[in-house]
Subunit: 425 residues, 2 copies
């Protein structure tokens, strides 16, 4: 699998894979780490190609992530896409949530639960698998504990391509069902998520898996670029303006860095205006898995891995691959990071639902809870426009709030009973 | 609550409420049954106003149901809407599902699980509550066992309006959570869904509930019109063509009649082309609740109420209010109805997921299973273009398939174990 992106996608603005560590360059192949320094590879673009992209070209595109194909490494040819057509999810005004937190300026929720499998993972999987098919892979795979598994299995089903998804054997039944229903191979591994990941890292090197794209391993550089669309969309939805402040959940930390990269690109090529003082990027973790925020608070570059705990399972990456880059982006833009415990997460899920009608998964609760903390600590300016990213759907983590919400009244089916229960004033 | 639609929405094409039974006309007030004959009221339009609507006007509108505001009774003023902006959900090509059933012509899934609370109810609730606010109501309510409860509670939360939702006390915990999280009043009633409905019918007549719009009771005529958007969208997504065949799930039967009404309107006002031989409307029920299909099969107009059973709970209306009108539409267009049992529903959910990447709730399983039966019995022509409506999300009815899907392999986390399990060929 060493072919480059094929001629049918020749209008891709991608130029090379570039090592984030030493700057070494590689062709656009299936590779995720540098042979020189073992640093992670990232897609680099032809600046002239990006500079030719216009707002009109994007606005004339489809109502999904592919409107940004001129800024992505792959997917320029619609017939070659492997996709559920995610994206262009709602940017929801949240004035009553803002009021509860003392935020006067406009507050927005970017609600990515509206994607086809109800998480932002559909964005990265669509880009990864489109790249993978272009590179000649004929089977799709991932290691996951939930959202990514759903998305890969659904994408493979839509495309009619075989898939093999690896999960820890003790995963909740609901998450098993939402992947197994798509009919691909589903491998339950007796071990932790780290064990599953390690096994996938070994399998990807075998001859038998030479035909298989692991979305977050051998095609990871393309996968990661999909997250840029969460930056592009917010800017376009605000009328081609970058918001002054964004609050973003962190697992590997990659999403945060890619939203920042998207903003940087848009400003560089003249598609969007930066706010007068620049934008500030804020990161959110849970108290049960806060290695990046802890490093920031300690003023160090050294991220000490943790063994994750707590209800925000979709953010539970104890050894975050892009943590150092997230730290860099937050420090460079004058942002901050914080973390929230399980009770704060549950409370934030309810506040968000009550004030906006958006029912978020635990990761969204983390982000809203951290928003409140950032205002309280003075790190986030309540007089500046802020966008908060909700990356997933409450239906997938019902257990998180099942114990704390329920009926407000219980009555027999009669007017008298309703009156006695106080329903008639 | 007898005020008519206010002046701010004067561009509404709605003219009157008209009795479906005797044709008596009423102003656009909060009323759902005829004083003369007790027949159901339906919104009637000013034909000249509808005739002025153009494709360009619709195509320039927002990417949601409100692009069709010129054809709806309310919502012309964006600032007066009570809405989560549902609609413009994907029309997914399903060639591999078609091949499994021997369908050669194009087959499409209209996937309404993509709405904000993941069912088609967001469409009807947005129209009902926008009308309700225009009519002066200050509280929103419904009786429901699931999707409608979620949608009303979420809409009220977004709008910052109090809500009170009535549910049977023995409802599944998951459905309670997905309504309670939005923070409105949630009344658990010790009784069946019919008991809950009856109680709401009594409450709506009390002075204490004079300020309260029950979406499917006192503002039902407006509520029902929201379903027309599922017809408009399919026609627009097909390039302003009416499909030759549509298969639609039936609970009250109202959705089927409104899709047919939407097609009729579009052809009458010249916005869409009808197929050469007209369109044919097919209705789907479950074997556990099939009163409309049973009447059709028996060749009678008399719909005998049933006590619903089976897993397709969102379709379990034993005494369907619009059943007679559904029969009329199916007979007039040369369609048919059929029903599927629980095993067939489960199998259809899996087939749909495996071949399209769409994970449907049980109602979607009913519709796909009935599609297969209609082809097998020769009632539906496999050589004609067909659209199948999926009205809800598989995440809400996980239990339906939890027993029949699961991991395909189980291994220890080692290459050797993977090889022994056959994963390496």
């Amino acid at each position: 699998m060493t072919s480059t992106i094929p001629a049918t996608a020749r209008t891709s603005p991608a130029r090379a894979l570039i090592c984030r560590g030493c700057g070494a360059e590689y062709p656009l192949i299936a590779q995720h780490a540098c042979y020189e320094c073992f640093g992670p590879l990232e897609v680099g673009y032809d600046a002239a190609a990006l500079a030719r992209v216009t707002r009109a070209e994007i606005e004339a595109g489809p109502a999904n992530i592919w409107r940004y194909a001129p800024l992505l490494p792959t997917g320029q040819d619609p017939s070659a896409r492997v996709t559920l057509d995610p994206g262009l999810t709602p940017l929801v005004a949240a004035p009553r949530l803002g009021a509860e937190f003392g935020i006067d300026a406009p507050l927005w929720i970017k609600d990515d639960s509206a994607n086809p499998t109800h998480s932002f993972k559909d964005r990265v999987v669509s880009v990864a698998l489109t790249a993978a098919r272009g590179l000649g892979f004929t089977r799709f795979a991932c290691a996951s504990t939930g959202n990514l598994a759903n998305s890969v299995a659904a994408h493979a089903a839509r495309a009619g391509v075989p898939s093999v998804v690896f999960i820890p054997a003790d995963l909740e039944s609901g998450k098993v069902v939402t992947t197994a229903v798509y009919g691909g191979e589903l491998v339950a591994v007796d071990g932790s998520y780290d064990d599953v990941n390690r096994l996938c890292g070994e399998l990807v090197e075998t001859d038998e898996f030479e035909d298989t794209a692991f979305v977050n391993v051998n095609v990871r550089p393309y996968y990661a670029e999909g997250s840029k669309t969460l930056g592009y969309e917010v800017a376009e939805q605000l009328g081609w303006r970058i918001p002054e402040q964004v609050v973003i959940p962190m697992a590997s930390g990659e999403l945060l860095t890619k939203v920042d990269k998207a903003f940087t690109e848009l400003v560089e090529i003249g598609l969007a205006e930066a706010p007068a003082g620049g934008w500030r990027v804020f990161g959110a973790q849970s108290a049960g898995c806060n290695p990046i925020a802890t490093a920031l608070h300690a003023g160090t570059d050294v991220i000490t891995p943790v063994r994750p705990t707590g209800i925000a399972k979709s953010l539970n990456i104890g050894d975050p691959a892009a943590g150092a880059y997230a730290l860099e982006a937050v420090r460079r833009t004058g942002g901050w990071m914080d973390f929230a415990d399980d009770d704060e997460i549950r409370d934030a899920i309810r506040r968000l639902a009550r004030t906006t009608g958006v029912f978020a998964e635990t990761a969204g609760g983390v982000t809203v809870a951290v928003l409140a903390k950032l205002v309280a600590s003075g790190r986030l300016d309540p007089a500046r426009e802020t966008v908060v990213y909700n990356t997933g759907e409450g239906l997938k983590t019902l257990d998180a709030v099942a114990g704390v919400v329920g009926p407000t009244h219980r009555v027999r089916p009669s007017l008298r009973a309703a009156r006695e229960a106080g329903l008639l004033g």
